[in-house]
């Protein structure tokens, strides 16, 4: 399955600044593994072991995968994934 993944700004340093990237896989987990091959480091930011980190939300279309099957959620061809990390705040000059 080829899907489009929307990359939030905090992760864009890993995708060369791209806000949307393509990836393939049958599940959210496979898509993240594939993303990590193309953009090393993404996996660690999103997964803790095989599970999506607790302070990261991933949506398949409008659906939060927490209410589906988590990382095992099946995706269909052409789906759009949105990654929504918790953000705290930021200090400049650090």
């Amino acid at each position: 399955m080829a899907v489009t993944v929307r990359i939030p700004t905090p992760l864009r340093p890993l995708t060369g600044g791209m806000d949307e990237v393509s990836a393939s896989g049958a599940t959210v987990l496979e898509i993240i593994e594939d993303l990590d091959k193309r953009h090393p480091g993404v996996r660690d930011r999103l997964l803790d072991g095989g599970k999506v980190r607790r302070f990261v939300d991933i949506f398949v279309g409008p659906e939060d995968i927490r209410f589906l099957d988590g990382a095992a959620t099946v995706v269909t061809d052409g789906a759009e994934l949105t990654i929504l990390p918790a953000i705290a705040g930021g200090r400049a000059g650090h």
Binding site: P8, T9, D19, R54, P62, L84, G89, G90, R91, H94
Partner: protein, 246 residues
Amino acid sequence: MPPPTPPLPDHPILVVGAGGIGAPAALALGHAGVTRLCIVDDDQVELGNLHRQILFDEGDVGTDKLAALRRALVRRLPALEIELRPGRALPDTALELCAGAAVVIDATDNFASRFLLADAAHLAGVPIVHAAAVRWQATVLAVAAAGRPCYRCLFEDVPAGVLVDCATAGVAGPVCGVSGALAADRALDLCQGRAPGTILTYDGERDRLREVAVAARRDCPLCGEHPTIGSLDAARYMPPACEGSD
């Protein structure tokens, strides 16, 4: 011409954090007709923060943000009643702070404070807006007085690791302003009893504002069917991997 002002609360709006998000939120609320604010902060104005803390100027550097913000607000809104609460929201003070408020605005810059305020507002039965900004991204979540869906429905617990490296994160000034303005807008909605159950995300690199529906989790420890958070236990809010005051 300003829009017609709906009835506004008698109780103060509590703004936690007087920095890049809290200050513009306070200004917007004051101009919208809110008459009472209570503002919490423990930090001083720094030169390196002026790009995003646009109510402050070089003359404020080294002074308390609370005092500087009061000066900036009173100059524009002399009738605004402002209570200043120096310090941070802590496990032993957060409930009392939230309990007297019409709405809480969480404009803090660390996860421990965010989860603490989420819990305190929920336990006090007070609506809360969580407003954040990092780099070019802002997020704003409004939670109704009824408390569902809440911050923990979405983000569960204080992160054990950090998604964004604080040492390199920083934040763009305009994005803080957007976050503060959206927070004020959502706070006014909450005062009217409107809670859309969505999280707003603003992407300052692409100038895109999106609204994503949030669902309440049945197993949420705060607002779920069998809640396990009934008090503000300090151990639950361990210091995050990097902490600072905005």
